[in-house]
Symmetry: C2
Subunit: 363 residues, 2 copies
């Protein structure tokens, strides 16, 4: 089957580009002795999680318990949930999961740790624990100070928890372009200060887990990091290209769309809007446009309605109703999360069809 035989809009994953991205990140991590624990929120597809483990990942990362349940059902046996899980319902689901796979959680409060400990003791299981520190994104995470170390001590003393170490999310460092301008010594000074507090208290931290996609290939330059959790690298998108962390040739996901209207002069409409591509704006710069038209850079996807993509067609260009276009989305993670399945392609040949099994697992 060829992509021209598919109904549109639909998501295509180029298996050759995916393979290069898999191998590239795995190779980088091997060379620098970093553990790669890929964040599967990007794809939510068990087949891709299994490929990531075949390429050397000892386990995966997820954001939600529901994602962990899907991945465990698919045979993934080592899962980190980098999210502070709150509430009896979630703690019971977590300990059920811990009965069948190795499971760890990152959190930033004694309350969350105490809830998990209590549930784990009742269930007779052990849950791995990492403590989240804020190094500049100001989203979650404790500050590097003595108060936080006191909390760490209390958490480590709780029963049925397996202390693993420190969790970071350097989401404030947005990519190669920014790293060139970014003061790495400043970041390292923050990390050194954090480690000194732990050392002083005599608390070991076997794992220091960091790393987002845009800055992933710079991870070796940050002091003490032992593990990274990039997600987007597996597919890449317009954001990672904009951050100079990838090129359009590294983008494995395109949305196949059809031109459905050319009746307004200088414009065209494709059948992919915000319910197909997501409404995410570009993370940097002028935040303009909603995707990149592969092979047709003159076509500007300047706006999205829910089911309409609005193209500006310059005077020297031409599109017709029925034309197929392939769009690289701004942000691939929320885009995939809108779809029940993806088609696996090699060039224009359709080779497989995978379910986005963890799609919509919000709890």
């Amino acid at each position: 089957m060829n992509i021209h035989d598919l109904d549109t809009p639909t998501v295509l994953v180029d298996i050759d580009t995916l393979g290069r991205n898999l191998g590239g990140m795995a190779g980088y991590c091997r060379v620098h002795n970093l553990t790669l624990r890929p964040h599967t929120k990007t794809h939510k597809i068990p087949q891709i999680a299994r490929l990531q483990m075949q390429y050397g990942a000892p386990g995966i990362t997820v954001a939600k318990l529901g994602e962990a349940e899907v991945m465990a059902d698919a045979g993934i046996n080592d899962i980190l949930i980098v999210y502070p899980l709150w509430g009896e319902k979630k703690w019971m689901r977590l300990t059920e999961l811990a009965k069948r796979v190795r499971i760890s959680v990152a959190m930033d409060s004694l309350q969350v740790a105490a809830g998990i400990s209590r549930a784990a003791r009742l269930a007779g299981v052990e849950v791995g624990i990492r403590l989240e520190f804020d190094t500049g994104l100001h989203r979650c995470g404790l500050s590097a100070n003595e108060e936080s170390i006191a909390i760490a001590k209390k958490i480590i003393a709780l029963p049925n928890l397996r202390w693993e170490g420190i969790s970071l999310y350097p989401g404030h460092i947005m990519g190669n372009r920014e790293i060139r301008e970014h003061d790495i010594p400043v970041e390292n000074a923050k990390l050194d200060r954090l480690y000194a507090l732990f050392d002083l208290a005599g608390i070991p931290y076997p794992v220091v887990s960091g790393g987002n996609t845009p800055a992933a290939f710079q991870s070796h330059r940050f002091h003490g990091v032992t593990e990274i959790r990039p997600g987007t690298y597996i597919f890449n998108d317009r954001n990672t290209v904009d951050a100079e962390s990838a090129t359009y040739a590294d983008c494995a996901v395109t949305v196949l769309a059809t031109v459905v209207s050319t009746s307004v002069q200088g414009n065209a409409v494709i059948d992919a809007g915000s319910k197909t591509l997501s409404a995410d704006t570009l993370l940097s710069g002028e935040r303009k446009h909603f995707g990149y038209v592969q092979g047709r850079p003159e076509l500007i996807l300047h706006d999205l309605s829910e089911e309409h993509g609005h193209l500006i067609v310059p005077g020297d260009s031409h599109v017709e109703v029925g034309n197929l276009l392939r769009i690289i989305p701004n942000h691939v993670c929320p885009c995939i999360n809108l779809h029940d399945h993806v088609f696996i392609v090699s060039g224009e040949k359709v080779v497989d069809h995978w379910s986005v099994a963890a799609r919509g697992k919000v709890t």
Copy 2:
């Protein structure tokens, strides 16, 4: 069951507010002798479509063929697809559908009409046809000129099509606030010019279908409109409130979320991010913030990660890990489309649980 017993994040639909919204729009349309053909893209829930028909709608509107298939399966027997359907696969699905329900399509090109006509003749069915005109949004739609009337004539002459009339989408008129400032005589002059062209050509147009939610209650002021297709009115959202077309008391949908982190001073994180609320920015004004915290207007939802909602908590306010909050989303349509099901509530009492059956039907 009470909302405090639910796992979060999840979507709550207040059935009392929904009832008022249903009745309010139905009453307005009855008084002004307008046909109400609600757009079900907002909810994608057959139970709500059936309620809309019980309140007087002769049929519904959808954007996608896949939505029409779900609604037909649920017993809805009169469906308008306001979308230019292109391609043999879609035309075959359309004619299959036309064998079991009354179906109409709005489009703006002879190519689309010819494809549907050919497929309908082969299948031995009839498909209703409306011709889309652009009155200012510049998205889809023909211009009001003689060339367009020539196209209309050709379309009407095609076999197995049932000519119904004119389709408009006044999406450039954004609500009561804008209508106060908007030049209604200018819009009416455009409409009159369009009708004059049809009259001159001797082409009847029994249906003139227009109407979005923000301007819905002003529809009687626009010349010649016989039918409106509002969607969002059933739930309302921060956009319709911002457009002064509703108040927060008219918003039937809230996302129930839990505070999961307060470790960063002056901030808090809830477990609802862009994969729960959608990343849609506000349509007007400064386009700031990602939702309204019901009953806690001092809490500002200033940013979203995929699974984190970032709240600013002013000094004189306080939230704790575990607190439940109810968020009115910016744009309810893409929010609902992220969820497999919604809980129906009356106040804090959970009374039912409905599937978002047409969620993710992109083709």
